[in-house]
Amino acid sequence: MKEMAEPICRVLRDGALEGEHAPALMIKDSMHSAFGLDVFNHILCSLASNISAGKSQARGLVLVSLNRHPSFYTDLLKSRGIGVASSNKLIQIVDCYSDPLGWKDRLLDPGCITKLSPKATGTLCKDIRDLDKLLSVILELGNGLVGVGQGKIHFSVAIDLVTVIIRHTSLQSVSRLISNLRSHDQVSSVFWLIHSDLHEMKAIAALEYMSSMVANLEPIGQSPNEQRGHFEKLLWTEQNSNKGKFHVRFKRRNGRVKLMSEEFLVEQGGIKFITVSSGNGMIDQSLLPKVQFNLQLSEKERVDRAKVVLPFEHQGNGKSMQIYDGRRSLTEGHNNLSTPASTTTKIHTEADCGKGEIHYIRDSDDEMPDSDEDPDDDLDI
């Protein structure tokens, strides 16, 4: 896997840190680019295969299906080669699709037998308005998956369409459900799908606060408004009929936000992610604001820049290099430091050719190395 949805899958796979909320992913789409379910399925399959291979923190997955019949998901997982026999043990489905309001149950009483009741695939939930019940069912199934009393073993939770629960209950109750799931110490990760244009902005914002990752699906190009003519609208719809833009926002624990963008293409085998190279000059140019100074490099400037030998590069003169990393104390540096008493450090990167000098003024000796975050944070070890 080298596509970009990979970092998301990795975070969900690695799960929660001790004493932290579980990572949560919200996938949001809109009618203009309604491929949220494809992304959801992609991530579900990826996590399920990690679980079945024992690579994830979670040992099992509880899927709440509101949008599709549970058999849709069992078929999907089967088609991806995630064995049903094993996935039965690893994946439990809460069926909120078949009878979400208990209508079928209510129609049962006058002695009529339901021949239609589809094969039971999962635990049937007959009132999705009772979210406390739903939460306890999810936790119960999760515990059943991983087995109680074997120390702390984790499981993940996936909700296929939060939109439905919000429609039947309220934003507050849904937020409470998700927050309870995230803070439960056995939950490894949570992810869900939402149709953003079926909710008020505040509902989406409230749920975004509760997510450590937000994946947003957007159409390519601006939607032509009604006045722009039928043909243009048709062209745009056609263009977006199997692809779109995929933006992901990661929120780190320390508050840093990272944005990533890709394009996706929906095919029968699932969804494919394509990295959009940022060097796509034509698009860049049109997106740049008009400014008086030059933001772009000319071809000559580009070539010149490529010729610059950077100080940390191997200089080819056989001498070992010394790079000041901010950690060594000043007294350690011997020959190259001109005056240790002054807090000015000179590094002669090109021996004593005197061509280039870097002046670094240190505030104090107890200053920490300049990055405050773990540089290996997203290494895949």
């Binding site: 009618m31 309604a34 849709f72 309001l101 079928k104 339901t114 909710h199 009929s241």
Partner: protein, 260 residues
């Protein structure tokens, strides 16, 4: 009607030798005041009742009585009375839905539950007595009237549709719903039509011509068929746009500009 090369059938995937989609499909017909989409509904009803389809149709009528559909379908060459007697068509006359006025919300929920109960019972006892695998088509002729009966509460309508959807999961089954696009045009936020577009696998939009009225073109159809599986087994969204002309006992479909 020209049965063997019809742009609408082609766009809906009726003609193709491709496999039938694995699960039930939801077809949404959107029309407007200027261009009625009811002819698409008639066409789909005729198709579902045709011989090579061997399906069963459950028709929930909110807009027009049985006699209306009988007259139209007869002209298209399909006898609804005979189909009804053969237990292939089950007609639910719901013209008076919501008329028992009272505490709006509660009453309508009860009525919709009752209607759903009737549909479910029909499927279980009359239509498929021996668990035969005949495809079921549930058709609703104007869902906006159900919303009116529910005093504008789209939630009840969506619940009803969801339950109908659970009945049409089998191969070849479908749920066909007609709604009007323009009655929601000034509304923002979640409208019934937007919710339904998410549910739908096929959206058929009947619109007037952008250039105004014309005598030989009555309007245009845009068919968005999500997730059609073609001969090579690849999944794609197919988008078709063509013009139509409604005649006395048939409808002509043609590409823009191909009619001299």
């Amino acid at each position: 009607m020209d049965n063997h090369s019809n742009l609408l059938d082609e766009a809906l995937g009726f003609n193709s030798k491709a496999r039938v989609s694995p699960s039930g499909r939801v077809v949404l017909i959107e029309d407007s005041v200027e261009t009625s989409g009811s002819f698409v509904l008639h066409h789909l009803m005729k198709h579902a009742l045709s011989l090579n389809c061997s399906g069963i149709v459950l028709f929930v009528a909110l807009a027009q009585p049985f006699s209306h559909y009988d007259r139209i379908l007869r002209k298209l060459g399909c006898n609804l009375v005979a189909q009804r007697d053969n237990n292939r068509l089950f007609f639910f006359d719901m013209l008076k839905l919501g008329c028992l006025d009272g505490d709006g919300g509660k009453i309508i929920e009860g009525q919709l539950l009752e209607l759903y109960g009737k549909i479910q019972k029909t499927i279980e006892t009359d239509a498929l007595p021996d668990q035969s695998k005949n495809p079921i088509t549930i058709m609703i002729d104007d869902i906006s009237l159900m919303e009116v009966a529910a005093h504008g509460s789209s939630n009840h309508v969506l619940d009803f549709l969801h339950y109908c959807h659970t009945l049409t999961l089998g191969p070849g089954c479908s749920l066909v719903v007609l709604n009007h696009e323009d009655i929601y045009s000034s509304l923002t936020g979640p409208t019934l039509i937007l919710e339904m577009e998410y549910i739908a696998d096929i959206v058929i939009k009947a619109e007037p011509l952008a250039t105004g009225l014309a005598s030989d073109v009555h309007g245009q159809l845009m068919v968005v068929n999500k997730g059609i599986i073609d001969e090579n087994g690849t999944l794609r969204t197919k988008l078709r746009n063509f013009h139509f002309k409604v005649k006395e006992n048939s409808v002509e479909y043609f590409y823009p500009g191909s009619q001299s």
